[in-house]
Amino acid sequence: MKRLLGVALGVLTAIGGFVDIGDLVTNAVVGSRFGLSLVWVVGVGVVGICLFANMSGRVAAASGRATFEVIRERLGPRAGLANLSASFLINLMTVTAELGGIALALQLASSVHYLLWIPVAVVAVWLVIWRVKFSIMENVTGMLGLTLIVFVVALFLLKPDWGNLAGQALAPAIPGEETASSYWYYAIALFGAAMTPYEVFFFSSGAVEEGWSVKDLVQSRINVLVGFPLGGILSVAIAGCAAVVLLPAGIAVTSLSQVILPVAEGAGKLGLAFVLVGIVAATFGAALETTLSSGYTLAQFFGWSWGKFRRPAQAARFHLSMIICLLIGIAVLSTGVDPVLVTEYSVVFSAIALPLTYLPILIVSNDPQYMGEHVNGRAVNVLSMVYLVVILVASIAAIPLMIVTGAGS
C-alpha cells in the first residue's frame, strides 16, 4: 500500500512538474498561430524526454553518478568546459524566465507590477533551496502544479469542434498566413520546451539526492513513462485552448495574460483562480529545479560537494553559486526585459544545446563499467539512435531558422 502510494505520488508530481514557463508560453503561442498542427512535436518531445530521463536516471541509480560528473569524465576538461559553458548559460536563461514567470503570474493575481514581485519570488526560491527538504519541495510544487489540469477542463467547457481539432492534429498543414520556416522554427521551440536539458540534470541529480539504487528503477520508470506523457497532455490542452479561442480571434500570444485568456472564457473565475495557482506552482517548481540545476552542473564539473541532502555548510560552493545565479536572474529581469521573450529564446537554445548532454549519457548508459548489467537494451538503443539524429537535426537547423524567421516573428 505504501509502495502504491509512493508510485501514485511520483506519477502525480511528474505530471505537475512537467509543465514550466517554456511549455506554457510555447504551447500557447503555437496554438494561437498554428492551431493543433504542431501537436505531433509534443508527442516526439515527450517520447524523447522519457527516453532521456530513463537513461540518465538509470545511470544515476546504477553508478551513483550524476549527469555532469559523467560529462566531464567522458569528454575531458576542454570539451567538458565548452559543454558546461553552453549548458550553464542556457540554464541561467531558463532560471531567469521561470523567475519572471512567477512574477508575471503574481501580477495577474494581484495587479501589482511584476517587477515588484521579482525580489519576493527570488527570496522565496532561495529560502526553499536553503531550508526545505528535497522530497517535500518536489511533492508540494508537483501537486500544486496539477491544478493546471484546468486547461483540460477549460478545453472541454469551451465545447470546441472536436472534428476540426482532430483534423488539425492528424493531418498537419501550415496555416495560410504562416511560412514554412516559422512552422519549423516553432517545431524546434516546442521540442526544446518538452526536452529541456535542465530536466535531465535535475532528474539525475535528484536521483542521487534521494539515494536511488537499482531497486528504485521500476518506480522511476513508472514515474517517467506515465507521468511525462500525462504531462504532455497538459501541454496539448494549453495549445488546444489557444487554438480554439485565440486562433479564430487572430490573437498571437505575446504575454502571459493571453495564455490564460481561454481558461477565463471556458472555465470562468474559478478556472482563473486554478490556473493562476497552477502557473505560480509550475513556474516556482521549475525555478527551484533550474536554480538547483545550475548549482548541480557547476559542482559536478569541478567536483565540489553538492546536494540538498547535505547541510548548506557542507556544500558551501554549491550554495554560493546558486545564490549568485539568483542574483544574476534579478539583475537581468530588472533591466525590464520581457520574461516571455526570454522564455521563447530559452526553449530554442535548449534545443540547440541538447546534443551536448544527450550524447555522453547515451554512451555511458552503454558502458558496463558504470552500469553493470543495467546497460541499455537493444530496443532502447535503436530508439535512442533515432533520437540522436532528430536531436542533431533540430540543433543544427535552429540557428538558421532563427535568423530566417527573425526568431519566429
Binding site: G76, L362, I363, N366, D367, P368, N376, N381, M385, L388
Partner: protein, 115 residues
C-alpha cells in the same frame, strides 16, 4: 612530471619516423604495498596514430553499443597500440622517442575495461 603534459605528445621511432601521439598512460598497481593501495607504476603508453581525444576508450574496451556510434568512435582510434615503459628511450617536452625494435602490443583491456 605531470601526466597532462605527456598526453598528446608526438611519438617517434628510433629512426625519427612518426608513429602517432600519446593517447593514454597505463599503470599497474603492483608496487610496494602502502597503507591503502599499492604503488602504481607506469606500465606503458597508448599511442594512437589518428586521434588523441581518448573519448571513452572504445578502442580498449569490449563495448560495442550503441551501433553505429561505438564503431565510429573505435574507427577513429584504429591502429592504436600499447608500448611498454621498457621500450621508451626518451621523453621530452615535445616528443617521445621509442627504442629500436620496440614491441607494439594490443591496447585492449580485459573484461569491461576495468580489469
Amino acid at each position: 612530471m605531470i601526466l597532462g603534459d605527456l598526453l598528446g605528445t608526438p611519438v617517434y621511432d628510433s629512426d625519427g619516423g612518426r608513429l602517432g601521439r600519446v593517447a593514454d598512460a597505463r599503470f599497474v598497481v603492483d608496487g610496494a604495498p602502502q597503507q591503502l593501495m599499492a604503488e602504481a607504476r607506469l606500465l606503458g603508453l597508448v599511442v594512437s596514430p589518428h586521434s588523441v581525444s581518448s573519448f571513452l576508450g572504445y578502442e580498449r574496451t569490449g563495448v560495442n553499443q550503441p551501433w553505429p556510434l561505438a564503431q565510429m568512435l573505435e574507427w577513429r582510434h584504429r591502429g592504436s597500440f600499447l608500448v611498454m615503459w621498457e621500450d621508451i628511450a626518451m621523453i621530452g617536452e615535445k616528443s617521445v622517442r621509442l627504442r629500436e625494435g620496440f614491441t607494439a602490443y594490443s591496447p585492449a583491456l580485459d573484461g569491461a575495461g576495468q580489469e
